[in-house]
Subunit: 109 residues, 2 copies
DNA sequence: TAGATATATGTCCATATGGGTATACGAGTT
DNA sequence: AACTCGTATACCCATATGGACATATATCTA
């Protein structure tokens, strides 16, 4: 249900994730780094947590958040196709090109 | 302005992009493949086009859309950091892991 | 020109979303 | 216990979003 891309759609959540790249951070810490209000930070962290993107560790009265391994994997996987696609420079438009002046059919390698 | 992740946040747009992976497609074609209404398809294509994610080629009365090279590059780049992060197995959460029972790094199969 | 096909746009609507402010809650501290 | 710090939640609100339906526009065809 919780779509990874939906998560990443919000800049504030991305900023939070960016702020967490170097390791776990407390809420106050994140508030300082992201220029957001504390409630907003908590709200977005809640969303990130519910979606399994981050984990929470409680240390006294501090809540330390950290990125969960593989959280963005789904998004990354989806995009990886296009990455390969462009890097190899292979445009598989043969079908679409069929009604054009015969662009020389490519063979499967 | 037009955020790539915002684009990808909508499943219907992702379906459209998926349908375009193999090359350019007409609107009718996309309608058939995505099970969306024609106006919805056009609407989302409009958004994708305005954002520079797809390009349009007119052939008679058909509008042929195709993914624009490097359109999702920005998103991919952003994610690449985390990818590297996890693939190398480098979790800089030593502090956090300190009080856990040795999570044992997974080996590559 | 009339009609059919292909696509785009306009309008309306229901819903989701994110921020802000106030407030509640929990854990230390005195 | 009273107070303070750190964090979470509740509520309200303005806005964005996406879909459906009807309709407009453009291109071919008879």
């Amino acid at each position: 249900m919780p779509d990874v891309f939906r998560l990443l759609a919000d800049p504030s959540r991305r900023r939070l994730l960016d702020a967490l790249r170097d390791g776990e951070r407390s809420v106050t810490d994140l508030v300082a780094r992201t220029r957001m209000s504390q409630p907003s930070v908590s709200k977005q962290l809640r969303i990130l947590r519910d979606s399994g993107a981050v984990t929470l560790r409680t240390a006294g009265r501090q809540h330390l958040y950290s990125i969960r391994e593989g959280a963005l994997r789904e998004a990354s996987d989806w995009l990886s196709y296009y990455d390969r696609f462009w890097r190899e420079g292979l445009r598989r438009m043969d079908d679409a090109l069929r009604d054009r002046p015969r662009p020389r059919t490519r063979r499967r390698r």
